[in-house]
Every structure is written in structure tokens, then in C-alpha cells.
């Protein structure tokens, strides 16, 4: 499968993609506001964020469809900042696939080879290889409208990789498919990309998709990368309230941060919650500043109202509003004394008691399970 074999000779220490200080303003508005990103050879990186966060604009600048206001883009050590899209040698899969409706699947896949003046025999062989790669041998003569959504997606994939691009960009390529097909294709896209050793920049707003597929995830917010890291890093150690809120569910306890010794506390009204030294170190916020303590729902335990829990743990009283049964999990929705909602997840069968709506309880968590972040709204 030389048609789609991994590029050889690319020094692995040089990043496949290096983005420096990327800015794009539309009139007064900065859609992308200073993005820096290094992607290693063969890495699968996802740009994740809500719509309007700048992830798609960033992708379009990497592809060359949008010219950056400032900043540079290097692909394989080559500055492509002013190179038009058709000379960038970057494969892209569009949200709606953008298969040419007047060409067959095979003609679509042959298009980039034709543009590169590949010989007829070579083209034929590589188109065949690419169709085999996406398991659609025998579908080459069909027009896009004669293919299902999933098949169109595979053809788009084949077309994007057939010319061995230096970089593979994907703009919510699975967004138009139903859930089941989407999940199947997530794995397939991931496996084929690994098999090809392709460097992938993937855009999505679906956090599960990002967590499943990526080596690393860049969380976008307001034109900036809020946090960049592996899925576990983002989930267990969010650096901001935005990331904590965006990835998974969180319980957020806002208050004033007080430093003492190595650690500190978040203080609010009569409550005082301990924060471990590692979390304080990472958050790096000042004594007396507004801080928020983030605790994941599965890190919390529900105990009886009189139970102090284990010594040294944080606790707050709460009332159970709803109990949702989710198969292997049970989800409790609760209200704190000040009316704020809280959420706790428990593996079914691990709970000490079956709590019901209306029960008065206490929530506890160990100090090390709390993550401290600055509270910009504090």
C-alpha cells in the first residue's frame, strides 16, 4: 500500500504543524486571538470548543482558505503562511464531505492525483488502494448521490489521503451522521489514521468524540486555546472554570481563596473547603482572590446528615431533588443550602444507602479530589 504509506524521511523531532501567534480579525471582532500549537508527526489532535470559539477559523487558516491577520503557520518545517490552499499539500475532510456531485467516487478520489499530474496507471492503482483502504472496492463507479452518508464520508476520507498529504484536517466530518454510525466511524477514522501514520487536526464540538479519538485535545474559547492536553489531563486537572464546565459534569463551589501553609481553603459564608497543596500550586492564584473549587460528580459521596464522613474531608449539607437511574450508574441531583445545584454519580451497588428525593444528606469528598481554579466572575 505504497499509495498511502507513511511519509518517510520526515524527521520525527520536527513538528508536523507549528502554529505561532495566529490571529484573525473580522472587522473589530477577533475570531482567533493568538493561537499557538505544535502537533507532532503522527499525532491526532482535536480542536474542541463551542461554536464561535475560533476552532473552525483556525482549521481554515491551516488549510489556507482564510488568510490570517497575523502569525505564522509551518507545515513540516515549511512556512506556508502565504501559500495558497492548492499548494499546501494538506488533505481536508469537510463537514458535508464536499464530494463533487458531477464526478464518480473514483473520479473524486483521482482528482488530487490528476492535479499533481500523476500518470494514468499510477492514478488507477492508487485510487484502487484508497478504495480498498476505506473498504469500498467496487463502489468507484457510483456518483456521490448514489452513496449513503457513511459511504460518502469514507470516499471523502479516501480522497483526502490518496495524495499522501503532509497533514490531514477534518472539520466535524461525522457531524451529519446518526449516533450509531458516528461511533463506528470514529473508531475507523482513528484506526486508519494511525495505520497511515497521518498527522490529524480534527475539529468537533462533541466532547465524547474528542475524548475517544484524540491523542491531545485543545479546548478553544473566545479565539484562544484555553487548555491543551490529553483527555485525562483536561478532565482531572482543568485549568479554568470554562474547561471544567465544558468537559464532563462538575460541581463548582465558588468563594474566596485563603492560603495557609502549603495548601489553602475556599471560603464562602460559613463554609470552608480545604484545597490540597498540589492543586494550590497548579492554580497559582493569590491569597484573597476569587476562587472556585471543582469536584467531579463521581468523586463525591453522599452520607447521612449526621455523618461527619472521614476526618479531614470536605463536606456540605444538601437535599436530594431527583434520583436518575442510568443503567450501571445512578445520578443524584441535589440542591445546596444556597439553592445551587449539585450532582453526584455512583456506581449502582456501591452506595451505602438508597437515597430518595427529599432526603437531607451531606456531600463529602477528599481534599485531593478538589481542583482549584480562578473564578473570573468572582
Amino acid at each position: 500500500m505504497s499509495a498511502t504509506a507513511r511519509r518517510t524521511g520526515a524527521p520525527s523531532d520536527r513538528p508536523a504543524l507549528a502554529v505561532r501567534g495566529l490571529v484573525k480579525t473580522f472587522g473589530e471582532v477577533a475570531a482567533v486571538d493568538g493561537v499557538d500549537l505544535d502537533v507532532a508527526q503522527g499525532e491526532f489532535i482535536t480542536l474542541l470548543g463551542p461554536s464561535g470559539s475560533g476552532k473552525t477559523t483556525t482549521l481554515r487558516m491551516i488549510a489556507g482558505f482564510t488568510t490570517q491577520t497575523s502569525g505564522t503557520i509551518e507545515i513540516d518545517g515549511l512556512n506556508v503562511s502565504r501559500v495558497p490552499p492548492y499548494r499546501r499539500d494538506v488533505g481536508m475532510i469537510f463537514q458535508n464531505y464536499a464530494l463533487f456531485p458531477h464526478m464518480t467516487a473514483a473520479q473524486n478520489i483521482a482528482f488530487p492525483l490528476e492535479m499533481r499530474r500523476t500518470s494514468r496507471a499510477e492514478t488507477k492503482r492508487r485510487v484502487g488502494d484508497a478504495l480498498a483502504l476505506v473498504k469500498l472496492e467496487g463502489f468507484g463507479a457510483r456518483y456521490p448521490r448514489q452513496l449513503s452518508g457513511g459511504q460518502q464520508q469514507r470516499i471523502a476520507f479516501a480522497r483526502a489521503v490518496v495524495f499522501n498529504p503532509r497533514l490531514l484536517l477534518m472539520d466535524e466530518p461525522l457531524g451529519a451522521l446518526d449516533k450509531k454510525l458516528r461511533e463506528a466511524l470514529q473508531l475507523e477514522v482513528m484506526h486508519i489514521s494511525r495505520q497511515l501514520g497521518a498527522t490529524v487536526v480534527y475539529v468537533t464540538h462533541d466532547q465524547e468524540e474528542a475524548l475517544v479519538m484524540s491523542d491531545r485535545i485543545a479546548i478553544f474559547s473566545k479565539g484562544k486555546i484555553e487548555q491543551l492536553g490529553r483527555g485525562e489531563d483536561l478532565y482531572d486537572r482543568p485549568v479554568s472554570l470554562f474547561v471544567a464546565d465544558f468537559i464532563g459534569e462538575s460541581n463548582i463551589f465558588r468563594g474566596r481563596f485563603e492560603r495557609d501553609g502549603d495548601g489553602g481553603s475556599v471560603v464562602r459564608a460559613s463554609w470552608r473547603w480545604r484545597v490540597g497543596p498540589v492543586a494550590v500550586e497548579r492554580a497559582g492564584i493569590d491569597d484573597g482572590a476569587a476562587g472556585a473549587l471543582v469536584v467531579r460528580p463521581e468523586r463525591m459521596r453522599i452520607v447521612g446528615p449526621e455523618d461527619d464522613g472521614s476526618a479531614g474531608a470536605n463536606a456540605i449539607e444538601a437535599a436530594v431533588n431527583d434520583v436518575l437511574y442510568l443503567g450501571s450508574m445512578r445520578k443524584y441531583e441535589l440542591a445546596l443550602p444556597d439553592g445551587q445545584p449539585a450532582v453526584v454519580r455512583e456506581q449502582v451497588g456501591t452506595s451505602a444507602a438508597d437515597w430518595r428525593a427529599g432526603d437531607r444528606v451531606r456531600l463529602t469528598w477528599t481534599v485531593d479530589d478538589g481542583v482549584l481554579v480562578a473564578d473570573p466572575r468572582g
Binding site: 482558505f65 482564510t66 488568510t67 491577520t69 515549511l78 502565504r82 495558497p84 499546501r88 499522501n164
Partner: protein
Amino acid sequence: MALPGLPAGRSGRRPRGGPTVNRWAWLTLPAVVFLVVLFLVPLVLMSLRSFTEPPNAGLANYGEFFASEADIRVLGNTFYIATISTIVCLVIGYPYAYLMSVAPPRVAGLLLIAVLVPFWSSLLVRTFAWEVILRDTGVINSLLMGWGIISQPLSLIRNTLGVILGMSQILLPFMVLPLYAVMRRIDPEYSRAAANLGAPPFAAFRRIFLPLSLPGVVAGSLLVFVLALGFYITPTILGSPRETMISRFIADQIQQRLNWGLGSAMAVILMILTFIVLALASRAVRIRDVFGALGDES
């Protein structure tokens, strides 16, 4: 396969900052030059002739026109016939467009073809057909006399009736197409919702469908009225001198009397009337949409 970097400056689609003119804009130039030279300039020069012929005429041609009772009557006639034709088209076209919008797709397609084929058929041929049908020895009279229903031919032609019949039939597609364009975008769920809320069919129609279809009514009526104002062939063949409309009057001034001054003045008046109607109507609908409806489905 790595491509060499390109010299800076060969940017992708648009340079930074977004200039006020891009490359695509220049493609309009040939058509614009063509239309200015071969269409607009002739109109402007013709308009000027209304002030310069006879030499130093100034507003004399316009004075002559408005002073002549016969000329004013032609103008009145024109408005009268255009108005009646518009009403006839609306009365026939509204239910037809409604039927198109509620019919199953196949039937709607056939109904559309029944509008589009006449729309693109020669106006002269269609007018000629009406003459064949309406004249004293024409289809209707010979059939009726053959069946013994009448003994003297009915006068169906060389009068207002003939002109209205011919013009309404020829203009009907211009009413139906904008109406249909608006009506097919009205969600049938609205009418069902109204029925569900207790509105009997007629009330649902009057309170829901009719108001929503009004833009189409305005667009279609406007189009038919404006086109009717400038009709020449049909009233000339099917009408008598009493039905003379302004276009015929203009043509006669130019062709027979070689009176360019008065002819041009009347042309300017007709043009101004047309633009006034369009300007009034543009408060209700976008003019572009009116004509867009013709290209859209045709």
C-alpha cells in the same frame, strides 16, 4: 512530494483587510458596457429627443400631450384596460396558484407546465389565435351559429372585451408564478393548526393563508399591471381604435407621423408611470423577487 514554499504575497482567496473591489467584480463589466451602450444610451437619447424635436421644443411636446383630450383619453384607456386585466388575472390566477400549492407534486408539476409553456410561447401567435377564435367568422361564432344558438355573429373582437380576454390570458402566467412562489412556502401546518384551534375552513383561509399570500398578490398584480401598461401587439390586433393604448399611440407617432418629439414625450411619460408603479410596489415587495420568481421555476 513536498512542495517548495511560494514567494510571499501569493495569498489565497482575498488579501488582508478585505478590499472594496475583488477580482470577480470585473466580470460584470462586459454586460454592463453592452447594456449601457446598446440599451441605456438609446433610451436616454430617445428621452432627450422629446425636448429637442422640433428644435427648442422644451416642454412643448408634453404640453401638447396633456392639452389634447384625445391623448389623455388614450392614457385613461391604458390604465383602464391594465386595471381590468390585472383584476381578471388575479381572480383566475389566485385559485389556480392555490390549487398548485396544495396539489400532489405530480399534479402541481403538470399545472406548472400548463403555465410555463404559454409563458414562453410567442405572444404574437397567442394573439393571432384569439383573433381566429373571436372574429365574426371565428371559432366561437361559427360553432354557435352552426348549433343554431345564435343567428347573428356576436361581436367579440375589435372591442374592449376582445382586448381584455387576450391580454388576461397572455398575462396570466405573470400572475400565477409569483403567487405560486409565495404560496408554496406557506407551511400547510399553519392551516391545520388553525383548524385545530377551532377555525372553520373559510376562517382559517381568511385569517391565515390569505394574509400570508398577500406578498404574492402584490407582486403578481404589480407585474401584470406594469406589463399591461406597455402592451402593444395584443390591443392593436384585437382592439379597435377606441381601445388604442399608449404603446400603439407611441408607435403610430413614430412610424406613421414621424413625430419623434411627441412620440418620445409619450414614451417618457409611460416610462415614468411604470417606475412610479414599481416604486410604490417596492414598498410592499422586493422588485428583484418579483422577477426572480420567473427565473426560479421556469
